[in-house]
């Protein structure tokens, strides 16, 4: 399911590097969020792994307004606009 992905990026002016997007992305085994190889340890989003808008899980736990944006449109995704948290995008979490 990679046909219609839209690139998103972290705005480092707004991001607090809290790690929530990284934790969420790891939790669902996408691992699209990674720590950049630079001294500030900032997070970046790998467009080759990220499935946005098919997956929007990280956006639901990001606490820093305007810190994740669509690359093309510049639209802010934090807090998540209603069209990106529709039920079909939620990751099913059932008991083992």
């Amino acid at each position: 399911m990679t046909a219609a992905t839209i690139p998103i990026r972290i705005d480092h002016e707004a991001c607090t590097e809290c790690r929530m997007c990284y934790v969420v992305c790891r939790e669902i085994d996408l691992n699209a969020v990674y720590v950049a190889p630079e001294p500030l340890h900032r997070f970046e989003i790998d467009p080759g792994r990220c499935q946005y808008p098919g997956c929007t899980a990280c956006l639901m736990y990001c606490p820093a307004p305007d810190s994740i944006i669509e690359v093309g449109s510049g639209r802010s995704l934090v807090p998540p606009p209603p069209d990106v948290w529709t039920p079909d995008r939620r990751v099913a979490r059932e008991t083992a």
Binding site: V24, L59, R93
Partner: protein, 254 residues
């Protein structure tokens, strides 16, 4: 018919509470806990708005110093370095693999609270109340806080399950977020606004820690029960209150 939420609470719900990345029993559990939290969130927010409006009418710096001292007691070294570090111990070694990211979130929260303690010290230093932070070490006001549930420490020792602190993250940190929003809406003082703005997103991160733990980890009755026990404690009328650092007013205070 339920009472309408305070407008600031409704904004908080729409932006940060209702959107969810998961479906399943964890989210259902969180929504049930949210309904229990709402009366307290609404009441605390209304009081914080009132407190902020009262602060706006004050002259002098005493009210700012009272806020900062209370904030230092909440987030200064006694809490943020000494006591809060113990929260990492609630994850035993045999569950470390499952909860490794939970521990990292909590380690991050400890560092955030350390910074917030420094912000409160900055208000006291830049406001001229103290010349050096050393002066705060012997101050009762700067080191003791009487909120039983703040950071969930009192509750933690009675609720040792690795997930129990999710209740604190979710319930108490929401109150901090709402108090900051209420204060920023009412108070013009640049020192107070700086202190609040600097920690606003991090308080929200601590809330998000709780939201994530509830959604992603609290899936079975065995995982939910110890968290609900912690909510039961936090929701007791005597356990949690808005601290002056986040806009509450002392009984009979100015």
């Amino acid at each position: 018919m339920p009472r309408p939420n305070h407008p600031l609470v409704q904004q908080f719900l729409d932006a940060w509470v209702t959107p969810t990345g998961f479906s399943g029993p964890g989210v259902e559990f969180r929504m049930r806990m949210t309904a229990r939290c709402l009366p307290i969130w609404n009441g605390a927010t209304a009081r914080a708005v009132k407190g902020g409006e009262a602060d706006r009418g004050l002259t002098g710096d005493n009210w700012k110093m009272e806020r900062a001292l209370a904030g230092y007691a909440l987030e200064g070294p006694q809490m943020s370095i000494k006591q809060m570090s113990t929260q990492l111990l609630s994850v035993p070694m045999d569950q470390q693999a499952r909860y490794i990211d939970l521990q990292r979130m909590r380690a991050r929260q400890i560092w955030d609270e350390v910074k917030h303690g420094q912000l409160n010290a900055d208000v006291l230093l830049r406001g001229g109340r103290i010349k050096k932070e050393d002066e705060l070490m012997a101050s009762v006001e700067a080191n003791a806080q009487d909120n039983l549930a703040y950071f969930g420490l009192t509750s933690m020792f009675a609720h040792l399950h690795p997930l129990a602190r999710a209740a604190q993250n979710y319930f108490v940190e929401a109150i901090a977020c709402l108090g900051i929003t209420a204060t920023l809406g009412a108070v013009d003082d640049p020192l107070i606004r700086h202190q609040m703005r600097s920690q606003q997103a991090e308080e929200l991160m601590h809330f998000m820690e709780g939201k994530f733990q509830l959604d992603a980890y609290c899936l079975t009755p065995e995982e939910q029960r110890p968290v609900e026990d912690a909510f039961d404690f936090l929701l007791k009328p005597w356990a949690t209150k808005m601290n002056p650092a986040f806009g509450a007013r002392r009984e009979g205070g100015a």
